[in-house]
């Protein structure tokens, strides 16, 4: 793009009063660019003025005014690059003249005094101009092949609901189900929980009408007794290989080598070559991930609705409850199967089970949690199953021992309705022991609401075990991605394929693959159906975004994508391994193969690359590097006691807004810090820190979101990766004889704007203690 740069400085909101605007203009003219001012740039007259400038040829506007977060629509000009330089919230509002007085006439140019605020504004303008020269308007990435078909993995209630919803919106869908018939678990139920208001009564399983609807719909094709062997490609262009369950085919996806096999007999780590050999052996007969299956089918997006399996207690796990030893102690899943077949009878001798005890919590050591993976489903299921006992036997009795009846929200109505049955008895209590008692059993419970320890004679005991997601045992989706066939880091979620975001429940680490139903969380049929509809929308949205060449959440609508200068790639594989979304696969040599539609545009790859070959059209090593190098670093040549110069790389998602709000509240902090917003701390390349230190800046800190189990990072690993890289930078600093503490990383949440002054000032103080950078002035 042939750029004609224009610099426009707004004098409103206190800028004109606080700064020497002429001196600011001079910064631009020194660089050969004409700068113009306007009293209120965001007003009608101001916008008209800018539009006139654009008509006269300016196509790159550097606007020094308020934050990029406000007036975004006013300063949006199609076809032009707009670079917003924040001299309002980050300069004038947060550095009031009462605290940072302007210079008097005598003080100007005396070599002792300097106007910190003016220097701050001038630096920001320099940085804005430096950046504007290095960025470009993006061109959207349009994949060569594009499929609008949606693949639904799992033919249970969730999968079928997702398929129907996508089909009703006009999309072609394929359901793939591993069993011989559709229906999933719901087909094995006698009856099910209500799915609509008033949520009071049991209903026949909805699965049957779903199956009918699915089979009748022209846009839905069904593959039963089939699983996904390999899912290769990227959103909009997935190539899927199917196979029969248990089959072994050449396009089975290669599995990563298990940790135990990465060491030799003596426990020593194997080297890369040896590991590769073992990997090839381990995956003998399987094609590598970059080979496309010529007979694979094309899909655009995937919905993972693989469901759950009942929890199988380990041996001795519930010995006190008699499980494993007494044949009449069963799980709720087994009980449901018994109920589906006919009247409820005891597994041991087939006799009538008229007195059934339901145990919600395994207890032990006063633990009041339900069984693992129970969620808030097993309480409802026990109520349902208690009703079965009463339906089968007029003199039947069902006892429910719970710690908490988990029937939240409108499910409370179901609890109220089932409670009314005279033959169902419920109490809070801890079941201590289930033991044999003649033909039957006796259940002993303590800490009950009856005020004493009680014994109940039982014909059958049902343990309310939970719903284990299918992905705990098996990758299921079998992605042919370098990072592995399964979703990563789901141990954090006990095997569920969930997102760690409360506000964005569907955004997992794999773009284009959305989870629905019990594979995400223990849920009831009603919740699963609602979840499936949402997942179907996300799949459709992904398709349409890919079609327009833009990114999905969180940088929705972003047209940039990472560009690689492969000539200088050294195949170190850091980008491939660190990408939070598995967007990069590598070939046999180790050269990364980008998959732009998997990419979320965070820039982690850019931050990881030691050769700095990765960049985006409007965000690259050079654009930020130039900003850093354009910062003026005064030395003793300029002033007796030159001020410190600190670079702060700040996450634009959480830290930047917090700093803006600090400015809005007129909280002031040191004027020695220059903020540069980055897309994610993960995209911070250490070269920028080296650049800052080698130009003589005294310290660098990174400010971003919290990492750890409750991570806030919208790109999952950004701040965590940055903190790891910062630790490694210690070596580089030592080689320059610079203290480790000159580089730091701080965590901040978006609402912690009140902490900004302290974080900034404390860091500046610590740098002042260390003294200036010895390389300053060279």
């Amino acid at each position: 793009m042939d750029k004609k740069i224009g610099v426009y400085i707004c004098e409103g909101c206190g800028i004109g009063e606080a700064l020497d605007v002429d001196a600011l203009k001079a910064v631009a003219t020194d660089d050969g660019v004409a700068a113009k001012t306007h009293p209120i740039l965001c007003g009608k007259a101001g916008v008209e003025f800018l539009q006139k400038e654009i008509e006269e040829g300016t196509n790159t506007l550097v606007i020094a005014a308020c934050s990029r977060r406000v007036n975004y629509d006013i300063f949006r000009f199609d076809g032009c690059i707009v670079d917003r330089v924040n001299i309002r919230e980050q300069v004038v509002w947060s550095h009031p003249r009462e605290e940072f007085p302007a210079l008097t006439e005598e003080q100007k140019g005396d070599g002792v005094h300097f106007d910190r605020v003016q220097m701050l504004a001038e630096d920001y303008l320099r940085m804005g101009m430096a950046k504007a020269k290095k960025i470009d308007l993006p061109e959207p990435y349009k994949p060569e092949t594009f499929s609008r078909k949606i693949l639904v993995i799992g033919g249970g209630v969730s999968g079928m609901t997702a398929a129907l919803d996508a089909a009703y919106a006009g999309y072609e869908v394929t359901i793939v189900e591993k069993e011989e018939r559709l229906g999933g678990h719901a087909s094995h139920w006698r009856r099910q929980l209500p799915v609509a208001q008033p949520f009071a009564d049991l209903i026949p399983p909805v699965v049957d009408e779903k199956i009918q609807a699915v089979e009748a719909h022209p846009k839905i094709s069904i593959k039963t007794h089939t699983v996904v062997a390999r899912l290769a490609g990227s959103p909009g262009d997935f190539t899927v290989t199917f196979k029969k369950p248990g089959e072994k085919i050449e396009f089975d996806v290669p599995y990563p080598l298990p940790e135990e096999m990465k060491v030799d007999e003596n426990g020593k780590d194997l080297n890369a070559e040896q590991i590769h050999e073992k990997f090839m052996e381990y995956n003998e007969g399987r094609r590598d991930i970059l080979t496309l299956d010529p007979s694979g089918e094309k899909y655009g997006a995937v919905i993972l609705a693989a469901g759950w399996r009942g929890y199988q207690p380990k041996a001795e796990e519930f010995a006190h409850l008699g499980f494993g030893e007494l044949p009449d102690v069963v799980t709720n899943e087994a009980f449901e199967l018994i109920a589906k077949k006919g009247k409820i009878t005891r597994p041991s001798d087939g006799k009538d089970a008229k007195s059934v005890v339901f145990v919600q919590s395994p207890g032990q050591e006063g633990n009041d949690a339900d069984f693992d993976y129970a969620g808030a489903v097993t309480s409802l299921v026990s109520l349902k199953q208690a009703k079965y006992v009463r339906e089968d036997y007029e003199d039947g009795r069902a006892f429910i021992f719970y710690q908490h009846m988990r029937t939240p929200g409108l499910q409370e109505n179901f609890y109220k309705s089932i409670q009314q049955d005279p033959g169902i008895f419920m109490t809070k209590g801890e079941v201590v022991q289930v033991s044999k008692n003649g033909d039957g059993m006796v259940v002993e419970a303590k800490d009950t609401l009856l005020g004493e320890n009680i014994n109940v004679k039982a014909d059958l005991v049902v343990l309310a075990t939970g719903m284990v997601p299918a992905t705990k045992d098996d990758p299921v989706v079998n992605m042919a991605y370098r990072q592995g066939p399964a979703f990563r880091d789901i141990d954090l979620f006990n095997g569920y394929v969930d997102s760690n975001f409360i506000c964005f429940p569907y955004e997992t680490q794999r773009t284009g693959i959305y989870a629905a139903g019990a594979v995400r969380r223990s849920m009831t049929t009603e919740e699963a159906m609602e979840d499936a509809t949402g997942a179907a929308l996300k799949a459709i949205q992904c398709l349409e975004s890919v079609n327009r060449g833009v990114s999905v959440h969180p940088r929705s609508g972003d047209m940039t994508f990472p560009d690689f200068f492969f000539q200088r790639c050294t195949q170190c594989k850091r980008c491939t391994e660190e990408c939070p979304f598995g967007a990069l696969d590598d070939d046999a040599k180790g050269t990364p193969k980008p998959n732009p539609t998997r990419c979320r545009r965070c820039g982690t790859c850019m931050g990881a690359c030691p050769e700095r070959i990765i960049g985006f059209a409007d965000y690259n090593i050079d654009s930020i590097g130039s900003m850093v190098k354009s910062i003026q670093v005064p030395s003793e040549d300029d002033y007796e006691e030159p001020p410190m110069r600190i670079l702060a790389l700040i996450c634009e998602n959480d830290a930047y807004p917090a700093i803006d709000i600090a400015g809005l509240n007129r909280l002031s902090y040191s004027a020695e810090v220059r903020f540069i917003p980055v897309r994610c701390l993960g995209s911070v390349n250490v070269i920028w820190i080296k650049d800052a230190l080698s130009t003589g800046m005294d310290g660098v800190f990174l400010l971003g979101c919290k990492h750890g189990d409750d991570y806030q990072c919208h790109f999952v690993k950004g701040s965590e990766l940055a903190s790891i890289r910062m630790k490694k930078i210690g070596e580089a600093l030592a080689s320059l004889s610079l203290e480790n503490e000159r580089v730091a990383q701080y965590e901040i949440a978006i609402d912690e704007y009140d902490k900004i002054p302290q974080i900034v000032n404390d860091f500046v103080a610590s740098i002042e203690e260390m003294g200036p950078n010895p390389f300053k002035g060279f």
Binding site: G12, C13, I40, G43, R69, V70, Y72, D73, D165, G170, Q197, P198, A369, A376, Y402, H404, M405, R406, T407, P408, G409, L410, Q411, E412, N413, K416, K428, D447, T448, L449, F493, N494, F501, I502, C503, P505, R521, S522, E530, T533, G534, A536, L537, K538, Q541, E544, S545, R548, H553, S556, G557, N653, P657, N665, C705, K706, A749, I750, D751, Y753
Partner: protein
């Protein structure tokens, strides 16, 4: 942002309510490519979640997600959001609705730079509704720091007074427009999603729990505001009677929920909210004693369970099964004694606390407000979805009491249902 627009019925969706559910439906549908009109009655988007200090179980700030959503709105020209707007009437059939929207005047136009000069000049103070009346704000105000749209509002009470003129004179950018009038616009849309959300149940109706009678009894939403750094106390949790630090806090669960006399259903979130608020108290007062009186602790799902177990580990947090049904104030100290029977030990306990928090439930907006459209509403005020008929759908807490995760799932799903109506016309 305020534009008059008539869109062809083929491609547009109306979302009523700009809380987290409404925002989610709007964004998800717009990012598929449809045009969406968002109508919100408050002068800001974000709804109830913007009044929360943190979400459970991650204890993360709601503004984090809201910021991303607002950015997505900023980047998406498909979205037309109207604040201070209410639906007057909706008529028509699935695929073709005629909507009349009434826009109330903000008295501040798009020139506003959030400089705050009008607020400084204004002398009238009004009760701050955002903080449930716990403090006052000037009659020219920014609803809260991260309010979006970032624009001040003038309270209608001062229009016509000298104060309003003072505000106008103080504004250097000619942003105060005292002549703004309420006006009506009509839109043609194909589908409507109702995300009208909820209100905290009026705790004064629970006569045996002393709210409104005794100063040191507050509701859970008031606690959220107190704990927020942008709230009436700057983030400090203080006893209303003397602004002192509480050494003991009692949480009363199911205050008005699971109660045939008030809200017969369970409000889903209050158990988790109280556990979360217990962490707020603990963060500020490491030695405070916290008592949580419950009927059943509802922490549905693995992650909420983990959070509950973690909170339970705190030695100074006591969980008692037994509903508080009586409160008595000591007139000298203003401490409140709550009475409950510990149902497991079978003994009544009278626990004195410096501060009592009633975990009041959520009541859907449609319970007290008749929505101007042909909708099916249950006795409790929840909207019923009729997917076969289509056209209009309820998302989030307008349909059932739910947490933020479930509301967002529901909202995403309803975006698709709305799209289906457009496609199947």
């Amino acid at each position: 942002m305020t534009e008059e627009k008539t869109a062809p019925a083929s491609g547009s969706i109306l979302v009523v309510g700009g809380g987290i559910s409404g925002l989610t439906t709007t964004l998800e549908a717009a990012e598929v490519g449809y045009e969406v009109f968002l109508v919100e009655k408050n002068p800001y988007l974000g709804g109830r979640v913007s009044q929360l200090n943190q979400y459970f179980p991650k204890l993360c700030p709601p503004t984090c997600g809201l910021e991303i959503n607002f950015r997505r709105i900023k980047d998406n020209p498909n979205i037309h959001a109207f604040t201070l707007a209410e639906i007057e009437k909706i008529e028509g059939a699935p695929g073709n609705y005629s909507v009349t929207i009434r826009l109330q005047p903000r008295y501040v136009n798009e020139n506003c730079t959030c400089c705050g000069a009008c607020a400084e000049a204004c002398e009238t103070e009004i009760a701050n509704g955002f903080n449930f009346g716990m403090n006052k704000t000037k009659a020219a105000y920014l609803p809260f720091e991260m309010a979006f749209p970032a624009r001040y509002v003038l309270a209608p009470e001062i229009i016509g007074t000298e104060d309003a003129q003072r505000c106008k004179d103080a504004c250097k950018y000619d942003a105060v427009d005292l002549d703004m009038e309420s006006k009506s616009i009509t839109l043609q849309v194909g589908a409507v999603v109702w995300a009208t959300g909820w209100e905290p149940y009026d705790a004064t109706k629970i006569d045996n729990l002393g709210f409104g009678q005794y100063e040191n009894i507050i509701t859970n939403m008031m606690m959220e505001r107190m704990a927020s750094p942008s709230g009436p106390t700057g983030g400090k949790i203080l006893r209303p009677s003397d602004n002192g630090a509480p050494e003991s806090v009692a949480f009363v669960q199911c205050a008005g929920s699971r109660d045939e006399n008030h809200l017969p259903y369970c409000s889903y979130i209050c158990c988790m909210a109280s556990l979360k608020q217990a962490t707020y108290v603990r963060e500020r007062y490491p030695d405070a004693k916290i008592y949580i009186f419950y009927i059943d602790i509802r922490s549905p799902g693995q992650r909420y369970e983990k959070f509950y177990q973690k909170v339970k580990e705190d030695e100074n947090i006591f969980l008692i099964k037994g509903k508080v049904a009586e409160v008595v104030e000591d007139p000298a100290t203003k401490k409140v004694t709550v009475t409950a029977e510990n149902a497991v030990t079978g003994e009544k306990m009278h626990q004195e606390a410096d501060l009592v928090v009633l975990a009041t439930g959520m009541q859907p907006t449609a319970a007290s407000l008749k929505l101007p459209a042909d909708l099916q509403v249950t006795e409790d005020g929840f909207l019923l979805n009729d997917f076969a008929k289509g056209g209009m759908f309820a998302a989030g807490c307008a349909a059932k009491p739910a947490d933020v995760v479930t509301s967002n799932q529901s909202a995403t799903g309803m975006a698709l249902k709305a799209i289906q109506t457009l496609v199947r016309r």
